[in-house]
Symmetry: C2
Subunit: 137 residues, 2 copies
Amino acid sequence: MPGARRENRSLCPLNVSLEILGDRWTLLIVRDLMLKGRKTFREFLDGGENIASNILSDRLSRLEAHGLVERRRNAQDGRGYIYRLTQKGIALAPVLLEMIVWAAQHERTAAPASEVRRMIKHREAFLEEIRTRWAKE
Amino acid sequence: MPGARRENRSLCPLNVSLEILGDRWTLLIVRDLMLKGRKTFREFLDGGENIASNILSDRLSRLEAHGLVERRRNAQDGRGYIYRLTQKGIALAPVLLEMIVWAAQHERTAAPASEVRRMIKHREAFLEEIRTRWAKE
Protein backbone atom coordinates (compact mmCIF):
# COMPACT_ATOMS: atom_id res chain seq x y z
CA MET A 1 0.00 0.00 0.00
CA PRO A 2 1.70 3.25 -1.06
CA GLY A 3 2.30 5.65 1.76
CA ALA A 4 1.81 2.99 4.42
CA ARG A 5 4.51 2.84 7.03
CA ARG A 6 6.65 -0.24 6.88
CA GLU A 7 6.05 -2.69 9.70
CA ASN A 8 7.84 -2.18 12.99
CA ARG A 9 10.43 -4.77 13.96
CA SER A 10 8.28 -5.48 16.97
CA LEU A 11 5.46 -3.78 18.87
CA CYS A 12 7.43 -3.70 22.10
CA PRO A 13 6.90 -0.07 23.18
CA LEU A 14 10.62 0.49 23.72
CA ASN A 15 11.32 -0.77 20.24
CA VAL A 16 8.64 1.50 18.82
CA SER A 17 10.25 4.48 20.57
CA LEU A 18 13.67 3.52 19.27
CA GLU A 19 12.44 3.20 15.70
CA ILE A 20 11.48 6.87 15.91
CA LEU A 21 14.09 8.28 18.31
CA GLY A 22 16.94 5.79 18.13
CA ASP A 23 19.75 7.67 16.49
CA ARG A 24 22.38 10.16 17.58
CA TRP A 25 20.68 13.29 16.23
CA THR A 26 16.90 13.19 16.50
CA LEU A 27 16.68 13.96 20.21
CA LEU A 28 19.23 16.77 19.86
CA ILE A 29 16.82 18.55 17.54
CA VAL A 30 14.03 17.93 20.05
CA ARG A 31 16.34 19.37 22.74
CA ASP A 32 17.00 22.48 20.63
CA LEU A 33 13.26 23.06 20.24
CA MET A 34 12.32 22.15 23.81
CA LEU A 35 15.12 23.63 25.88
CA LYS A 36 17.21 25.99 23.78
CA GLY A 37 14.61 28.13 22.05
CA ARG A 38 15.93 27.25 18.59
CA LYS A 39 13.36 27.26 15.81
CA THR A 40 14.99 27.50 12.40
CA PHE A 41 17.09 25.21 10.23
CA ARG A 42 20.02 27.62 10.63
CA GLU A 43 19.74 27.58 14.43
CA PHE A 44 19.70 23.77 14.52
CA LEU A 45 22.70 23.68 12.20
CA ASP A 46 24.61 25.93 14.63
CA GLY A 47 23.42 23.85 17.61
CA GLY A 48 26.84 22.88 18.91
CA GLU A 49 27.28 19.33 17.65
CA ASN A 50 28.05 20.14 14.02
CA ILE A 51 25.17 18.25 12.49
CA ALA A 52 25.52 17.96 8.71
CA SER A 53 22.79 19.78 6.79
CA ASN A 54 21.66 16.67 4.89
CA ILE A 55 21.27 14.74 8.16
CA LEU A 56 19.43 17.65 9.76
CA SER A 57 17.12 17.85 6.77
CA ASP A 58 16.40 14.13 6.93
CA ARG A 59 15.76 14.14 10.68
CA LEU A 60 13.43 17.14 10.51
CA SER A 61 11.43 15.39 7.79
CA ARG A 62 11.20 12.27 9.88
CA LEU A 63 10.17 14.23 12.98
CA GLU A 64 7.45 15.89 10.93
CA ALA A 65 6.33 12.58 9.38
CA HIS A 66 6.01 11.06 12.85
CA GLY A 67 4.02 14.06 14.09
CA LEU A 68 6.57 15.31 16.64
CA VAL A 69 7.32 18.60 14.89
CA GLU A 70 5.30 20.96 12.73
CA ARG A 71 6.56 23.78 10.56
CA ARG A 72 5.17 26.94 9.11
CA ARG A 73 6.53 29.65 6.84
CA ASN A 74 8.79 32.12 8.57
CA ALA A 75 6.93 35.44 8.42
CA GLN A 76 10.17 37.42 8.70
CA ASP A 77 11.89 35.47 5.97
CA GLY A 78 9.59 34.21 3.23
CA ARG A 79 12.00 31.46 2.24
CA GLY A 80 12.54 29.65 5.53
CA TYR A 81 10.46 27.74 8.05
CA ILE A 82 9.81 27.98 11.76
CA TYR A 83 9.67 24.61 13.52
CA ARG A 84 7.71 23.84 16.65
CA LEU A 85 7.16 20.73 18.75
CA THR A 86 3.68 19.23 18.71
CA GLN A 87 1.96 17.87 21.81
CA LYS A 88 3.50 14.49 20.99
CA GLY A 89 6.92 16.11 20.74
CA ILE A 90 6.71 18.03 24.01
CA ALA A 91 5.62 14.77 25.66
CA LEU A 92 9.24 13.65 25.26
CA ALA A 93 10.30 16.01 28.07
CA PRO A 94 10.58 13.20 30.67
CA VAL A 95 12.72 11.11 28.28
CA LEU A 96 15.12 14.01 27.78
CA LEU A 97 15.20 14.79 31.48
CA GLU A 98 16.13 11.20 32.40
CA MET A 99 18.84 11.01 29.74
CA ILE A 100 20.31 14.30 30.96
CA VAL A 101 20.27 13.18 34.60
CA TRP A 102 21.80 9.80 33.74
CA ALA A 103 24.70 11.33 31.80
CA ALA A 104 25.28 14.01 34.42
CA GLN A 105 25.52 11.34 37.12
CA HIS A 106 27.69 8.85 35.23
CA GLU A 107 29.78 10.70 32.67
CA ARG A 108 31.76 13.90 32.33
CA THR A 109 29.35 16.56 31.09
CA ALA A 110 28.95 20.32 31.13
CA ALA A 111 25.69 20.10 33.09
CA PRO A 112 25.73 22.51 36.07
CA ALA A 113 25.37 20.45 39.28
CA SER A 114 22.71 22.80 40.67
CA GLU A 115 20.55 22.38 37.57
CA VAL A 116 20.82 18.59 37.72
CA ARG A 117 19.89 18.63 41.42
CA ARG A 118 16.83 20.69 40.54
CA MET A 119 15.83 18.21 37.82
CA ILE A 120 16.01 15.38 40.33
CA LYS A 121 14.51 17.04 43.42
CA HIS A 122 11.87 19.09 41.63
CA ARG A 123 11.24 16.83 38.68
CA GLU A 124 7.54 17.60 38.27
CA ALA A 125 8.04 21.37 38.55
CA PHE A 126 10.82 21.22 35.97
CA LEU A 127 8.62 19.31 33.52
CA GLU A 128 5.68 21.59 34.20
CA GLU A 129 7.81 24.66 33.34
CA ILE A 130 8.73 23.10 30.01
CA ARG A 131 5.09 22.40 29.17
CA THR A 132 3.95 25.85 30.25
CA ARG A 133 6.64 27.60 28.19
CA TRP A 134 5.70 25.48 25.19
CA ALA A 135 1.97 26.18 25.55
CA LYS A 136 2.60 29.95 25.70
CA GLU A 137 4.65 30.09 22.51
CA MET B 1 47.00 8.93 23.15
CA PRO B 2 46.30 5.26 22.42
CA GLY B 3 43.23 3.93 24.12
CA ALA B 4 41.89 7.38 24.91
CA ARG B 5 38.30 7.95 24.00
CA ARG B 6 37.77 10.33 21.14
CA GLU B 7 36.34 13.68 22.15
CA ASN B 8 32.60 14.02 22.49
CA ARG B 9 30.87 16.22 19.96
CA SER B 10 29.80 18.36 22.89
CA LEU B 11 29.55 18.03 26.67
CA CYS B 12 25.85 18.72 26.68
CA PRO B 13 24.59 15.89 28.91
CA LEU B 14 21.94 14.86 26.40
CA ASN B 15 24.57 14.63 23.70
CA VAL B 16 26.80 12.56 25.97
CA SER B 17 23.91 10.15 26.60
CA LEU B 18 23.19 9.91 22.88
CA GLU B 19 26.80 9.17 22.03
CA ILE B 20 26.48 6.06 24.20
CA LEU B 21 22.82 5.14 23.76
CA GLY B 22 21.81 6.81 20.51
CA ASP B 23 21.17 3.96 18.14
CA ARG B 24 18.33 1.56 17.42
CA TRP B 25 19.77 -1.44 19.24
CA THR B 26 21.72 -0.54 22.38
CA LEU B 27 18.73 0.11 24.62
CA LEU B 28 17.02 -3.07 23.40
CA ILE B 29 19.90 -5.07 24.85
CA VAL B 30 19.60 -3.06 28.08
CA ARG B 31 15.86 -3.87 28.05
CA ASP B 32 16.57 -7.60 27.60
CA LEU B 33 18.89 -7.53 30.61
CA MET B 34 16.75 -5.27 32.77
CA LEU B 35 13.21 -6.41 32.05
CA LYS B 36 13.27 -9.72 30.20
CA GLY B 37 15.73 -11.80 32.21
CA ARG B 38 17.89 -12.48 29.16
CA LYS B 39 21.57 -12.97 29.88
CA THR B 40 23.34 -14.71 27.02
CA PHE B 41 24.31 -13.81 23.48
CA ARG B 42 21.88 -16.43 22.18
CA GLU B 43 19.02 -14.99 24.23
CA PHE B 44 19.68 -11.46 22.94
CA LEU B 45 19.85 -12.79 19.41
CA ASP B 46 16.40 -14.35 19.85
CA GLY B 47 15.09 -11.17 21.49
CA GLY B 48 12.28 -10.47 19.03
CA GLU B 49 13.73 -7.74 16.81
CA ASN B 50 16.04 -9.92 14.72
CA ILE B 51 19.27 -8.18 15.62
CA ALA B 52 22.16 -9.34 13.43
CA SER B 53 24.90 -11.15 15.34
CA ASN B 54 27.65 -8.75 14.21
CA ILE B 55 25.61 -5.76 15.42
CA LEU B 56 24.84 -7.51 18.69
CA SER B 57 28.50 -8.30 19.18
CA ASP B 58 29.50 -4.70 18.51
CA ARG B 59 26.83 -3.25 20.84
CA LEU B 60 27.73 -5.63 23.67
CA SER B 61 31.39 -4.60 23.37
CA ARG B 62 30.43 -0.94 23.45
CA LEU B 63 28.16 -1.46 26.45
CA GLU B 64 31.03 -3.17 28.24
CA ALA B 65 33.55 -0.49 27.21
CA HIS B 66 31.24 2.19 28.60
CA GLY B 67 30.79 0.28 31.85
CA LEU B 68 27.08 -0.45 31.49
CA VAL B 69 27.43 -4.20 31.21
CA GLU B 70 29.83 -6.76 32.63
CA ARG B 71 30.32 -10.34 31.56
CA ARG B 72 31.65 -13.50 33.12
CA ARG B 73 32.19 -17.03 31.86
CA ASN B 74 29.05 -19.13 31.79
CA ALA B 75 29.58 -21.85 34.39
CA GLN B 76 27.13 -24.18 32.61
CA ASP B 77 28.71 -23.69 29.23
CA GLY B 78 32.46 -23.11 29.29
CA ARG B 79 32.44 -21.35 25.93
CA GLY B 80 29.84 -18.67 26.43
CA TYR B 81 29.35 -15.61 28.63
CA ILE B 82 26.72 -14.40 31.02
CA TYR B 83 26.02 -10.66 30.80
CA ARG B 84 24.76 -8.46 33.60
CA LEU B 85 24.00 -4.77 33.96
CA THR B 86 26.29 -2.74 36.18
CA GLN B 87 25.04 -0.07 38.59
CA LYS B 88 25.49 2.43 35.76
CA GLY B 89 23.43 0.20 33.47
CA ILE B 90 20.58 -0.35 35.89
CA ALA B 91 20.49 3.43 36.41
CA LEU B 92 18.98 3.62 32.92
CA ALA B 93 15.68 2.25 34.26
CA PRO B 94 13.96 5.70 34.29
CA VAL B 95 15.07 6.35 30.69
CA LEU B 96 13.54 3.05 29.55
CA LEU B 97 10.39 3.65 31.55
CA GLU B 98 9.82 7.08 29.98
CA MET B 99 10.44 5.79 26.45
CA ILE B 100 8.01 2.93 27.04
CA VAL B 101 5.33 5.24 28.43
CA TRP B 102 5.78 7.73 25.60
CA ALA B 103 5.41 5.10 22.88
CA ALA B 104 2.46 3.47 24.63
CA GLN B 105 0.68 6.83 24.80
CA HIS B 106 1.43 8.01 21.28
CA GLU B 107 1.96 5.02 18.99
CA ARG B 108 0.47 1.59 18.37
CA THR B 109 2.32 -0.84 20.64
CA ALA B 110 1.79 -4.17 22.33
CA ALA B 111 2.10 -2.64 25.81
CA PRO B 112 -0.76 -3.80 28.07
CA ALA B 113 -2.71 -0.72 29.18
CA SER B 114 -2.76 -1.86 32.82
CA GLU B 115 1.03 -2.16 32.90
CA VAL B 116 1.46 1.30 31.41
CA ARG B 117 -0.96 2.77 33.93
CA ARG B 118 1.08 1.17 36.69
CA MET B 119 4.30 2.64 35.32
CA ILE B 120 2.73 6.10 35.38
CA LYS B 121 0.79 5.95 38.65
CA HIS B 122 3.32 3.96 40.64
CA ARG B 123 6.48 5.10 38.93
CA GLU B 124 8.77 4.94 41.95
CA ALA B 125 7.53 1.51 43.03
CA PHE B 126 8.05 0.19 39.51
CA LEU B 127 11.63 1.50 39.41
CA GLU B 128 12.31 0.21 42.90
CA GLU B 129 11.20 -3.29 41.89
CA ILE B 130 13.64 -3.24 38.98
CA ARG B 131 16.50 -2.19 41.24
CA THR B 132 15.63 -4.75 43.89
CA ARG B 133 15.42 -7.60 41.38
CA TRP B 134 18.77 -6.56 39.90
CA ALA B 135 20.45 -6.35 43.34
CA LYS B 136 19.26 -9.86 44.22
CA GLU B 137 20.64 -11.49 41.07
